[in-house]
Amino acid sequence: MRHPLRDQAAVVGIGATEFSKDSGRSELKLAVEAVAAAVADAGLELKDVDGLCTYAMDKNPEIEVFRNIGGRDLKFFSRIDYGGGAACAPLLQAAMAVHSGVAEVVVCYRAMNERSQYRFGQGFVPPPLPNAEAANWGWTVPFGLATPASWVALAARRYMHDFGATSEDFGRVSVACRRHAAENPHAWFYKKPLTLAQHQSSRWIVEPLRLLDCCQESDGAVAIVVTRADRARHLRHRPALIRAAAQGARDDQMNMTSFYRADISALPEIALVAEQLYAMGGLAAADIQTAVLYDHFSPFVLPQLEAFGFCARGEGKEFIKHGNIEIGGDLPVNTHGGQLGEAYIHGLNGVAEAVRQVRGTSVNQVPDVENVLVTAGSGVPTSGAILAAAA
């Protein structure tokens, strides 16, 4: 039985600013530049935009973007929480909005001067405002466990214990991403591949995470334009159908600090997304030719491979050996270089790469792409999507 949302919406335009360590301009300027570029890429005009969707962590309100593009009627606006976990959720919401007829042209965007202005990795010490969200930081920050790297490291250490994974196994993820980034002119690490030996000699940030297990910090913006699939056929590029999109949070979910479940080395919220994506798309792991897997930290790529059924639980470290997730392998992952290699635009640059793989325009193009998986932030309430080539 066909899911009513399957293939009903498509990504018709992608746009981005350059990715840098200091954009030299406001986040709002980055946002409108990316939105304008994406709309032009779609062959549409800014006045056609009637829906805007972004991350709760984005500091550019939908109405401010809309005001600056001279918009008149905004019928759908939404912000989705939990940091990078929101990366694919705008695709789900945009698909629902256009499929239901609430809006016609929805632009999803993320624009941040994360590197030059605030730097997520510097240690999160929130002001003690007494609400439920703030209260949850109290279980980790007073003990010095105050950064995303430290929260991921605590789960990664248990994964190593449960399955015998090592720092070298994590390093293979970084090596693969950097190999792809080395071919990508938009990547910070263009022409700079990484060897496993170099990874192993990089300094500890939070054991078991080394510097080269951690994604970059970047300034930049990405925007994605979504319309109904039937309209997409008449626009400029080959449409990237939203075959499936989903959000997921699981029992006892916390924001980066889900340490209280029986098993802390799996990513059950990703498994919930996987279940929904495969059901909505009528697909299985074997139908995916390439994947963009959220790589804020290399260790979490392994349980994502497992959650999506590319390999058995705990077998991620075997699956990635011998170049299997590199171009030419069974499942090329992060062909743009990922957030380890290209830039850290909170996962939305990964969505753009998934679109390019469908269009056939990636610098590391995988042959005969039908379905591309893209995931969002792991360790947080999350999302995912499968983009597909129209028949």
Binding site: A134, F143, L145, R157, C214
Partner: protein, 319 residues
């Protein structure tokens, strides 16, 4: 996260390392007894070597000598009502830091060397070199950079009579405060946001008890606590005092970034309490190289600040 290129202003300032930080300045007056007497009175200094020419201490030095710690006083501009005479106002680096938004200042380190005693009549000249600027650091006062200055003091014959290494922190006040602030002696330890649902836990710590929320209806233990039992949806509960015994379920060793109030490398563990819930915790008496998953531990309490008690775990049955 990868270290990245420093901002332009910082690179340019770094490039000036080794340059003169200010024009050389000769003291308005030579070392003199009236200023020595006033300084000693203000400092509560009574050493007769500085004050009484007839004392054995002074005679041993062939006359009165100035207190060594007055080394910098002779060439200081001294107080001006508009504050323009301040030591940190006129050094290379200050304007650049101000322009970058680090407008507040606090002195953090000062080391002086005294090759010889200074005597009344010595006329000092001060030369200051800019010795460098640190990467941005997060401190309890706010984000900022440390600047280092090297001073040399010479006398009227050009002989070296003193050296000083001076470090200041130029920072962005964390609470939007004014131009200068007194540095706290110890940075405040991060505190939890406390809601009505979690207050019992933090108050329990102040009485040196580790309390876990237990459902009054189905006895399910809920940690971290919330207003409703996830198992049976009752909102009735009581607090169970945990035995304090547990095992290490996972751990990390934090190297970067270094937050004020902690010492690094910092082990942080996730402990399985024997009651079946977990807590994140620091460790006591267990070095970073000894932490092991499966290590049996037991709780201890310590008051990190008055009225703020935290728990930590020590190896059970160990040292």
């Amino acid at each position: 996260m990868n270290t990245a290129d420093p901002p332009g202003w910082l690179s340019r300032l770094r490039a000036q390392q080794g340059a003169l930080a200010a024009p050389a300045r000769t003291a308005a007056d030579p070392v003199n007894l009236p200023m020595i007497r006033r300084w000693c009175a203000a400092m509560g200094e009574r050493n007769p070597a500085y004050l009484d020419a007839s004392s054995p201490a002074a005679r041993a030095n062939n006359g009165i000598v100035a207190p060594p710690a007055m080394l910098e006083v002779w060439t200081m501009r001294g107080f001006t009502p508009d504050g323009s005479g301040g030591v940190a106002n006129n050094l290379l680096g200050i304007d650049q830091m101000d322009a970058a938004g680090f407008t507040a200042v606090v002195a953090t380190n000062l080391v002086q060397e005294y090759p010889r005693h200074l005597r009344p009549g010595d006329l000092l000249t001060q030369a200051v070199t800019f010795a460098g600027v640190s990467d941005q650091k997060n401190t309890a006062l706010g984000a900022g950079h440390f600047l280092d200055y090297h001073y040399e003091f010479t006398d009227q014959r050009g002989g070296l009579v003193g050296r000083m290494r001076f470090r200041i922190l130029k920072y962005r006040p964390a609470r939007g405060g004014g131009a200068t602030a007194a540095a706290p002696s110890k940075p405040p330890h991060p505190r939890p946001a406390i809601t009505p649902d979690s207050a019992f836990f933090w108050e329990g710590l102040n009485t040196r008890r580790l309390l876990i929320r237990q459902c009054a209806k189905c006895l399910h233990l809920h940690h971290p606590p919330g207003p409703m039992c996830p198992a049976c949806h009752s909102c009735e509960w009581s607090a169970l005092q945990a035995s304090g015994r547990g095992t290490i379920h996972s751990f990390v060793i934090i190297h970067q970034p270094q937050l004020p109030g902690f010492s690094y490398p910092l082990p942080v563990a996730l402990v399985d309490l024997e009651e079946g819930v977990r807590v994140v915790s620091n460790l006591l008496g267990i070095g970073a190289d000894r932490v092991r998953i499966g290590m049996p531990v037991e709780v201890e309490f310590s008051e990190v600040e008055p009225g703020y008690v935290l728990y930590a775990f020590r190896e059970r049955g160990g040292t």
